[in-house]
């Protein structure tokens, strides 16, 4: 599939011609500069909400996450798929209004696949995600402390090898900031008009098969 390297997805999709505002609406974020006190407080507040929701959703329980991987408890997928569907509609609507800019993640096929598989193995062993692990600690699951130390150790180990990885595996299949509609050669609006109903349908099917 010939997907042209596409370093600037902000300008790539031809559908939404309203450009995202270059100056960010509230409190500019400039990479390299320390976050403002306002940003730090916002981060804390958003974190409180996020942690609260993860705990209330039950996904911070070891048994619920492992149940997802045994394919006996579909709570985690229900939460994630709903969040993705609502967020997708919301973010692309806000972007069409010029209120937000996208932060698409770079695609490097080899690193995404190898890293994704390693992540999954670790996830099966730990039984918490980086997000639900800290929520698990908040509800009294102290084994998450060992998990958090492991997360920090693994991160530092990655940093140790980051120079080597950057010149090897990170270069294999490096496609830049591509989005699903780019790969399929579809316009963004058309893709969303098909994909969002499919996600909703998926949620309904799951609600029927795994209530």
């Amino acid at each position: 599939m010939s997907t042209p390297a596409n370093p600037l997805p902000e300008t790539a999709p031809p559908v939404l011609v309203i450009p995202a505002q270059t100056d960010e609406p509230n409190g500019a974020y400039e990479p390299g500069k320390p976050d403002s006190a306002r940003q730090l407080v916002l981060g804390l507040v958003f974190g409180v909400v996020f942690g609260f929701l993860l705990q209330k959703g039950g996904v911070a329980h070891y048994e619920v996450l492992m149940g997802q991987f045994f394919l006996t408890d579909f709570t985690v997928i229900k939460v994630m798929l709903t969040a993705v569907t609502v967020g997708m509609l919301g973010i692309f609507s806000l972007r069409a209004l010029g209120l937000v800019e996208l932060h698409v993640k770079p695609t490097r096929y080899a690193a995404n696949i190898a890293g994704g598989l390693l992540f999954g193995v670790g996830l099966g062993l730990l039984g918490y995600c980086p997000g639900t692990g800290v929520a698990a600690l908040g509800q009294g699951n102290y084994d998450a402390i060992a998990g958090i130390f492991g997360l920090m150790a693994g991160s530092y180990l990655y940093a140790e090898t980051s120079g080597y990885l950057g010149s090897t595996i990170q270069k294999i299949g490096n496609r830049g900031l591509i989005m699903l509609p780019d790969v399929l050669g579809m316009r963004l609006a058309v893709f969303l008009a098909v994909f969002v109903p499919l996600l909703v349908l998926g949620l309904f099917v799951m609600a029927l098969l795994a209530p």
């Binding site: 996020f50 993860l54 997708m88 999954g120 193995v121 062993l125 995600c129 980086p130 908040g138 009294g140």
Partner: protein, 169 residues
């Protein structure tokens, strides 16, 4: 396995996380992402013991080890989960999850060792893949990043295989 009795509907929680995502984009110009915060914290510890070495690592030249938005997010998550658990009467201080104990017994060291090893593998993979369940699984996926949908599929396949090897062999 049933939901915990006090749990909210997964569709309600998912909807609220989707709305929270919109809020972080609008107010902070940032997507929800968690795992990088652990890398920054690890770098801050690295700075205590071997500052020159840590600063020279390629990763920490791009991702500065410091307290920023994402680290504050994680601190907030700990507090938010605590508030939620207290308000729902779900504070359950325990070192070994019930399911783990049924399979591997009550040995705390075994569970902590496995959690540490699992956490290390997970974090290495997250950095290599470019995100975790939040950064790729929610934020990247909702922005239609190709990398995120690939990573999400790999997370799931490998976790299903690992969970079955651990519990169903």
């Amino acid at each position: 396995m049933e939901n915990e009795s006090g749990a909210w509907s997964p569709y309600l929680v998912g909807t609220l996380i989707g709305l929270l995502s919109m809020a972080t984009f609008y107010f902070s110009n940032k997507p929800l992402s968690v795992s990088t915060a652990y890398a920054r914290l690890a770098g801050m510890i690295g700075n205590l013991f071997a500052r020159g070495h840590t600063e020279n690592l390629k990763f920490y030249q791009d991702t500065k080890p410091k307290i920023e938005w994402g680290v504050m997010l994680v601190f907030g998550m700990l507090l938010g989960a605590f508030i939620a658990a207290v308000s729902g009467g779900e504070i359950t201080p325990t070192w070994v999850p019930v399911l783990w104990e049924q399979r591997f017994g009550p040995d705390i060291a075994l569970r902590l060792g496995m959690a540490f090893v699992g956490g290390a593998i997970l974090a290495y993979g997250a950095r290599l893949a470019g995100g975790c369940t939040s950064g790729h699984g929610i934020s990247g996926a909702l922005q239609l990043s190709v990398s995120s949908w690939i990573a999400l599929a790999c997370f799931f396949v490998a976790a299903v295989a690992t969970a079955h090897l651990l519990y169903r062999l």
